[in-house]
Each structure stands twice: as structure tokens, then as C-alpha cells.
Amino acid sequence: MSDPSIHAPSSRYTVADHAPRKISAILLRWESILVMMLAAVIIGNTLKSPYFLDPFNLADATYNFSEKAIMALIMALLILVREIDLSVAAIVALSSLAIGYMGAAGYGPVPLIATGLAVGMVCGAFNGFLVTRSGVPSIVITIGTMSLYRGIAQVSLGDQALTTYPQHYLDLGQSYLFDWPPTPLSFFLFLLLAACFAVFLHKTAAGRQLFAIGANPVAARFSGIRVDRIRLILFTISGLLAGLGAVLLTARIGVMRPNIALGWELDIITMVILGGVAISGGVGTIGGVVLAVFVLGLATFGLALMNVPGIVINVLLGLLLIVSIAAPIVIRGQSGRR
């Protein structure tokens, strides 16, 4: 007889914590693929453009995706529990409208920020209320509130713009939080929030509950998880972070127009999907979303540095999304057949 300890792990009396970790399994994880994509983007851009690996250029590039990235964090949780919030960009417009009116009335930075966050939170809570009370799918509800929120902004302003803001408020969006390494406030907040979201989702019991809801909402409810309450909270946080996005974006561009943040909801959902969050719910990691934010943000910046027209960039990002989503499914399908 051979040494019995060799067979111990596969003994029928032992339950392992997880499947045996194989190197191929780790490499095939979605996050690993995203890391490879990110490396490819960075190497490709560095080879193609001498201006890419410049700390100040990279810091400026983060301005253009950090606000969306912050909103992508909560969108990831919503999609994880089988919901979606298409009204986030419209909430940005409405919050920005409120900030603009407060600025025009001569208030200082703190009331401006508080107003932006509060309006966003109220809009988000209204979404959550409608979704949990009506039982209508959130995609339908938030298509409606998307038109509602942006419509209010359009009716109020028409083709006008709000342009009066205190300088201290504008500085938040237009100067660096630290000078070295150059870090815009929006990018710093994104990293901070990403860390909080990651700990919450992957290290707490409440985070596990989200996976349970995403896997099977009915079973989750019968297991004692307060599904509707969690949904309401998630939609409210989605509104709050859209309000934060509005605070940062308005400070950065120093003007509110009804077309502000137009189409952002799709950019944000793209980040989440590329980050490996399953649109059918129950699967996903914050790490994946953060990696996807960097892949998309740096790929866009690199292509813009080469003066690739924006329309072509959109086509390429669309292809990237389709290929990256379809590839694992195709591969899994083939492996299954064999």
C-alpha cells in the first residue's frame, strides 16, 4: 500500500473549500484575460506613440473616464442582482442642472456639492421605489425616468447654459489633488470607492447576498434575504454616485447644458460587461470592472493620440466588447462538446 496521506484530499470524507487550483484555471479567469488585454493596450500604445507613457498625459486621460468609472462600480452591483439603471446619465444632467442653479444663485462649493448629491440620491431612490413597488422590470422603469430626468433639464434650459460657479468649486474638477504623482480628484475617488466596493462585495456577508439574489432572486427571498430592500438601496446609491459624477463633471467643464453626459449610460454598461459581470446576473467581480475601466480608458486615449477618428474608435471598442464576450462562450461550448 502506498502512503495514505497522498489520497487524503480526495477522500470521500473530506470537503475541500474550493476546487483544486490549477494554473490553467487561474489563467483562464476573466480577470487574467483582462490583465493580458491591459498589458497589450499599454505595450501597443507605448510602441505606437511617444506621448503615451507620460504621467501628466495619463493623469489628463483619467479625467475623461473617472466619472463614468465611479458610476460603473454601482452599475456592476445592479447588473449583478439582475437589475439595470439606464437613467444614470440623465440623473447626471438633472443633478448638474440643480448645481448650476445653485451656482447661479451665488452659493459656495459645499452647498453645491450637497445639492448635486441630494438630487442624485432622490432620483435614484425614486427609481428604486418604482422598481420595487411596481414589479415592472428596471430596464423599462429607467428608460422612462431617463426621458423624465433629462426632459426636465431640457425644458428648464432649452438651448441655454448655466455657467456661473465659484472658483473653489471649479478647482475641484480642474486641478490635481496631489501634484505628484499627478492625481485628479475624480480618479482618486474612483480608486477609493473601488476599494470600498471590492471589500463590500467580496469580503462581507451582505456582498454574498447580492450574488445570491443575482443567482436566483426568488430563492434568495425565501432564504430570508430582503431582496426588495437591497434593490431599493442599490438604486439609491446608483443615484447618489450619479450625483457625485455630476458634481465632478460640472466642476471639470464649468458649464451645464441639457446634453451633458449624453449617452454615458451605454459607456458605463460597456465597462461593466467587459469587466465580466454577467448580464444575466449572479457573476462578476469589482476587480474585473476596474480592469475593464483601464482597458477601455487607455485604449480610447491611445487611439485618440493616434488621431483615429472617434467613430472608428467606437467601432473598435464595439468589436472588442463582442469578441471578448463571445470568445469565452464559444470556447466553453467547444470544450463542452468534446
Binding site: S24, A25, L28, A61, N64, G310
Partner: protein, 342 residues
Amino acid sequence: MSDITRTSRRDLLKLAAIGAAGVALPMPFITRARADNKRIAMVVKNLGNSYFDACANGAKQAAAEIGGFEIIYTAPTKATAEDQIAIIDSLIAQKVDGIIVSANDANALVPVGKKAASRGIKVISFDSAIAKDGRIMHLNASSTPLIGAKQVQMIAKTLKGEGEVAILSAASTMTNQNSWIAAMKEEWKKPEYAKMPLVATVYGDDQDDKSYREMQALVKAHPNLKGVISPTTIGIRSGAKAIIDGGLIGKVFITGLGLPSEMKDAVLKGACDSFAIWNPVEYGYSSTQIMINILNGADASAGKTVKMGKKGETKIGDDGEAAMGEPFEFNKSNVEEFAKIF
């Protein structure tokens, strides 16, 4: 066991191939910048707009005429301020020498304009201005007095200075049209227009059907009407259609501000003798000439005069704005050529 590892290795290869394809795809779109040329970027409101394409052609003409300059023509896919800021950020990162912008928002582009200036990049605006602090100067296609006067001169030439004339404007609340009408009335005070009275001003609200009906009503209300000035591209095309449909060709003429592509038929049929608008090719050309002069050390601050190559020179006003010249006139001789452009 070995079977599983073989499968996953093949899977990994596939993934690597997909990743490589993703990186390789953009390659055909990349054009290497030649380092010896100075680079001027023209950033317009959005891509896929033939008016701006014509501006860019003018910019390239100016660059070719002088030599040693390269034009980067770019724009956001959506006509929003934040998308345009992202484009300008990437141009600043590339350390281009000059940026010519048609702004999606006057105020929103000020911070990024200042940032460009702080890194030694010259910024001017054309077509749609950046607010004063964010650019060196702004080139208007024309000026209100020149636009107003040109339209009165065109109808006077068509009617040989005799006959009743009316104005078919956009909405009564439109600032642009109202200031042009005020400028027309100023020109009208000159003695050579004494036999050409202004009999009515009507508003088509920049809607085709309303402009069309207002034009029909004008002709009925004023049987001796000979000419109509429409300082809006929608008014002039609908008015011209009403003349053609009503069998009034040769009896009533329309002029004003129109697009060659929309006015070609009316001009060839005789409903419109001549009309005007700024020529986008010349507009892009003049803006680029000014930028090249600034890069070569010309002073473009308020009160100074800058050269625009073949288009002569222009004086910069106290507000940092200058006008390219009077609107460009289109008639039977050139409308077909320009109809292909815009």
C-alpha cells in the same frame, strides 16, 4: 488529466490570438506623423458634417500653399462639450503646435484652452467661439453689418433697384436674424434704394411648411411684390419652392442666406437670381492662414491686424474677434460646383 491540460492550452492559444487581433485591428487607421512638419489640429463640432469637411479642405489648401504644416482634422462623435474636451486633451498630449476649434460650448472649453496655452499650444476658434479667456482670437465668417448689407445689395442688383421687397425671416425671437434685419434696414436708408421699399416682414419660424405658407400669403397680400429677402437657409428654400410651385418665376425673386445644395434647383429654374453664405472652404483656409501666421510669430491680440493669405487681412476687435469678410455670393455660374460640397 493530460487531456484537460491539452484542451486548456489550446484555449489559451485561441485567447491569445483574439487578443493579438484586438491590438492589430487599429493598425491600418494609424498614420504616422512626420516629425519635421509643424502640426495644426482642426477640431470641429462633430464628424460626418460636409460643412466642416469643406472647412478642413480649406485648411489643407492653406497648409499646402505655405508648406511645412500638417493638418489633423478631428472631432468628437457626439456634439457635446465633454467629448470635445477629451479630443483636445489628446491633442495637448501629442504636443501639436496649434489648435483651431469650432466649440460645442463656449465656456466649457475655456479650462482646456488655458491648459493648452500653458503648454505653449496656440488656440484660436472659428465658426463657434470659445469664450474670450480660452483662445487667442476668434474668426467670424462675416459680421452683422456685412451680412445685412450684402442681402440688400443682392436683391437691388436683381431688381435693378425698383420694386416692392419683403423679408421672410425665421422666428421673431431669433437673435441672429433680428440683428441682420436691423443691419439690412441700416443699408436700406441709402438713396439708391429709394425706389425699392420694404413692405412687410413675416416669420416662418424656420419650419418648411410655415415658411412656405407665409411666402404664399406675402404674394397674395402684396400684388406688386418683386423681391423677398430670407436671411435663413430654411426660409429661402421654402420661399423658393413657393415661387416655383405658384408659377411666379420671373415675377418674384428670392434672395438671402442659403446652402448651395438646397438652392441649386431654384437658381437654375430662375426663382432665385443670387444668394449668399460664407464659403466654408475659404473659412477653413482663412482660419488656418491666421494660425500659421500666429505660429510664425504674428501678434493676434485685440486691435492688431492679421493676414489671411489670398483672403487679405482682417482687424481684430476689442473683444478678440475678427470677421473674414462679406458673405460669398452664389449664382448660376458657381452654384452647381458648390452644391457638391455643402
